[in-house]
Symmetry: C2
Subunit: 330 residues, 2 copies
């Protein structure tokens, strides 16, 4: 290599390094205590000369999905999928026209549907999610995501991922964190979009699941896994630390949630030795998104908010702390 | 950078590159059809100009553990741990002196112990594995691995990892494969040594598990997960494709097993679209290790061997194909 090329290479490297250092990886976060707490924590655990240094293999970051990485109002997006799926399947299920909760769903009677309670919800979810192969299910979810629109924002659901959280995920990965989703949502539903939208590969998505049955020779002559109408695991509340233990096997260094269903995940994370970072997103922005907490039927945030204040966990105030909300649009 | 340093750097880089290229990453594998099949497959899916090219994120490789990555005779090593653990706990369980299967175990009556069947086995495993926190359990397993010796080889169990398989794991990772264990063994048992011995981090170990219970305030004042005497998931036989689906969410590109418990994992892998690599290790070396297959109570290989021959999966003959067996010693 002649000397001149060598110099140019060195100069170009320095130029790129400077550009990278000066761009704000958390550009959609308002300058303030929240953003500073995140950056200070990451600097503390990644600087090799820091007393709090943590080696890359232990840099596990876990995120709830609904209400933390994307919106969850007015109903969980996966439930919107289930409703649309039941409508699609209704033509081959004439009995649904006279059976609750399906007749209420098909009649658009959301009040009666809600009155069917947890049992009704599970019936709708089972009808929408089971009795098909895992591969067919992924295809169906993919088609739905490509066409369905959110009732208020009139955008695809995947466009309602939160831009500040996408930046946080990228920032953590640039600092050699491994990012995981730990959600009460269905694992096979989330995996369809998690890699493209969040940059989180399927093997780092933990969620609720149904039993699958292995069939050596499926309808196409090849082995298949059939989704059965039997709950296998509910990854919510105390299920979240159990799920983290089972799937990851390491205590997270950082955990981010937004509702009471995340409380135990945050406690489990905070209880580890050495530095840990625990945060809650508080939905405070009715104009740009939604404002809800203690009374909300979806994403209720009550006990976890009290605990966050007691323990001085970071509470991100969406209205104050986020300059931009969604990955698409405003 | 002066021109001379630049030249030296270039020269050093070329030197290292040459050395790496000429070292055989599978040095403990005998030259032959098996080794060639592995190398050809990996080249086919990793060369960007190949028709079979697979992007790195989809390069998932799954390995059974007992009898595939380390030995499993005369009894599964985890069962040896359970026996030692029951002996240690016997002083605080005087009732065990008069109750089967514990009294038989404590008396060293392996015949009576074996006669207690699956129920007896589960009782021993539950006594050894549950009623403690996940963290205490890891500590206990770590202490046992550091001191216990294999009855025939008089070596620590972790020294009975197979050197050719360690080379294969390293080789695959060097080609941007992500390596996973998918084993009937207990996930929390394997995680204690998998990272150090195999280079496989906890979050890439899939195994059988017991239910864990989250306790917000444990005995040390911090949250804990208690291992309960209730089976959560058996990652064996048809459980393996279900486990792969649940934990990884992608069809593996490569699968390696050694017994009938791996059959469905191999079928599931082979059934994927495009190139797939499926292999069985056949224990054929009574001198250096063990020779067993269709009649063995541990690691029975019967139906999967027939299927491998029908489907022309690779069957590695330990005696013929491996120049060296263990990571330590001969």
């Amino acid at each position: 290599m002649p000397q001149r090329s060598c110099r140019i290479l060195l100069f170009a490297t320095l130029l790129v390094a400077t550009a990278v250092a000066s761009a704000d990886p958390l550009a959609s976060w308002a300058d303030g205590a929240g953003k500073k707490a995140i950056v200070d924590f990451v600097a503390g655990v990644t600087r090799e000369d820091s007393a709090d240094y943590v080696p890359p293999r232990e840099r596990i970051a876990v995120f709830d999905n609904d209400g933390t990485l994307w919106a969850e109002q007015p109903i969980y997006f996966q439930f919107a999928f289930a409703i649309d799926r039941v409508k699609t399947l209704a033509s081959v299920h004439p009995e649904w026209r006279t059976t609750a909760p399906f007749k209420d769903l098909l009649a658009g009677d959301t009040k009666a549907l809600a009155a069917s309670g947890k049992q009704g919800l599970l019936q709708v979810m089972a009808a929408a999610h089971t009795g098909i192969t895992t591969e067919d299910f992924s295809t169906i979810v993919g088609s739905w995501l490509a066409t369905a629109k959110h009732p208020r924002f009139q955008r695809q659901y995947t466009e309602l991922a939160y831009q500040p959280m996408l930046e946080l995920l990228d920032y953590l990965r640039s600092q050699n964190f491994k990012t995981f989703i730990v959600s009460g949502g269905g694992v096979e539903f989330m995996r369809v979009f998690a890699e493209q939208v969040y940059g989180i590969p399927p093997e780092q998505v933990i969620g609720s699941s149904a039993v699958t049955k292995f069939v050596p020779v499926g309808t196409n002559g090849k082995p298949a896994l059939i989704k059965e109408p039997q709950v296998e695991f509910i990854d919510d509340g105390p299920g979240k630390p159990s799920g983290i233990n089972r799937f990851i096997g390491r205590r997270p260094l950082l955990a981010f949630g937004n509702s009471d269903g995340d409380l135990q995940m945050l406690q489990w994370t905070a209880g580890g030795a050495g530095p840990r970072f625990v945060a809650l997103l508080h939905h405070t922005d009715a104009d740009r998104e939604y404002a809800y907490d203690r009374q909300s039927p979806v994403g209720k945030l009550d006990k976890a908010l009290d605990e966050a204040r007691r323990q001085q966990w970071l509470v991100v105030d969406m209205k104050r702390d986020w300059l931009r909300i969604f990955s698409a649009g405003k």
